[in-house]
């Protein structure tokens, strides 16, 4: 069975998409968890500021989410545009 060049490129882009999204999900997952952990600690210490703390937590998480979204974009590009 001869494997053509186009076939290998397609296979590699599928594998690349999976790896990009899989590995890309590790960092934001842990980082956002840590941000939320500190927000919970701060609310435990000072429940009156819960609104401000939740807002700051969400902004911080949104920024750390960005690398996860980059991974998603690259994965979708690999799946639908490149191959």
């Amino acid at each position: 069975m001869a494997i053509e060049g186009a076939e290998i490129i397609k296979a590699a882009s599928f594998l690349g998409a999976g790896l990009a999204m899989g590995l890309g999900a590790i960092g934001p997952g842990i980082g956002e968890g840590m941000a939320a952990a500190k927000a919970c600690e701060a609310i435990g210490k000072n429940p009156n500021e819960a609104g401000l703390l939740t807002r700051t937590m969400l902004v911080g998480q949104a920024v750390s989410e960005s690398t996860g979204i980059y991974s998603l974009v690259i994965a979708l590009l690999l799946l639908f545009v490149v191959s």
Partner: protein, 324 residues
């Protein structure tokens, strides 16, 4: 030199058994070591409670050990399988079953060690609470073990399902992908669940009156950390039970393998991160019980955001399986 299928099946089964037991021993050993270290610390602090602490250490270690016993069972089955009727697809099922159980035991083994250690220290601090602490530890550790049980279930299905009537390509890749999705997906949830249970045991000992609230929030937090392991199990089931059309080309096979890898690796981060979040929420619920509502809400919102990358991984996996 011509090597027949039976020989290759044996090669795969023995390699799989090695991976299963080798990786499977890592987590439980670390978790039990942590428990023993905490127990020593606890006994040095309060030698009079050494009887209770010693008992609780052994019970906690026994639970942490179960993940590696699952790996031992799978390794034994792989070593003593009947290879005479092995088909080509058996090569990948043996390898996938070993990978799945080996990787799946890491997180649960480490995770179960945390609550056991905290329960030992808690008994030194508050010997009157030892009954409640043991219960809390058992519940927390049991939830930590669920990802390892998911991996065990997937390994059993892989070993005892007859895949020989399916087309070899791309089923071989679907099978390896299924093993990786459940196995890798269990790492984060097992570890994260352990972090939550640790502070629940610690908090129950420091502030005994908040123990019920602490246990409730622990269960809620752990339930959310388990979701990514459940996504991994879901992708494994789809990969194992969906009939894929025969294809000689490489691309469909790589898409299925990649779907499993994507979900498996993608589940690690959110599992650990959600564990961190719930750990802090549970810690502060015992210090400031009046903030229960705020803490629960913030914990759930924070966990939901941390979950998002796990959901992206699930989406990409589903696209790889159903769209490509």
């Amino acid at each position: 030199m011509e090597i027949d299928i039976q020989t290759w099946a044996k090669v795969a089964a023995y390699t799989g058994a090695g991976i299963a037991m080798g990786c499977g021993a890592v987590g439980a050993a670390i978790g039990e070591g942590y428990t023993a270290a905490q127990a020593n610390f606890a006994i040095s602090r309060n030698p009079e409670a050494s009887g209770d602490i010693f008992k609780s250490m052994l019970v906690g270690q026994a639970i942490a050990e179960s993940a590696s016993i699952f790996a031992l069972v799978i390794a034994m089955i792989l070593l003593f399988s009947n290879f005479s009727g092995a088909t080509t697809i058996a090569i990948s099922t043996f390898l996938a079953a070993g990978l799945c159980m080996g990787l799946g035991a890491i997180g649960s083994g480490v995770g179960s060690g945390f609550p056991a250690g905290a329960a030992c220290v808690g008994m030194a601090r508050q010997p009157a609470m030892s009954g409640r602490l043991t219960t809390n530890m058992l519940i927390g550790s049991a939830v930590c073990q669920t990802p390892a049980i998911f991996a065990l279930v997937t390994s059993f299905i892989l070993l005892f399902t007859n895949f020989s009537d399916r087309p070899l390509s791309p089923t071989w890749a679907a099978i390896i992908g299924a093993g990786l999705a459940s196995g890798l997906g269990a790492v984060g949830s097992g570890l994260g669940g352990g972090l939550v249970a640790e502070t629940s045991c610690e908090g129950s000992a420091r502030h005994p009156d908040t123990a019920p609230a602490s246990t409730n929030l622990m269960l809620l937090g752990q339930a959310v950390t388990q979701t990514t392991a459940i996504y991994g199990l879901l992708i494994s089931f789809i990969l194992m039970f969906k009939q894929f059309p025969a294809s000689d080309s490489l691309a469909p096979a790589m898409a299925l393998l990649s779907a499993g890898l994507c979900m498996g690796i993608g589940a690690i981060g959110p599992g650990i991160g959600e564990g961190f979040t719930a750990r802090s929420a549970v810690q502060y619920i015992s210090r400031n019980p009046r903030a229960v509502a705020e803490l629960t809400r913030t914990m759930l919102v924070g966990q939901a955001v941390a979950e998002s990358t796990g959901i992206y991984a699930l989406v990409i996996s589903l696209v790889l399986i159903f769209v490509i």
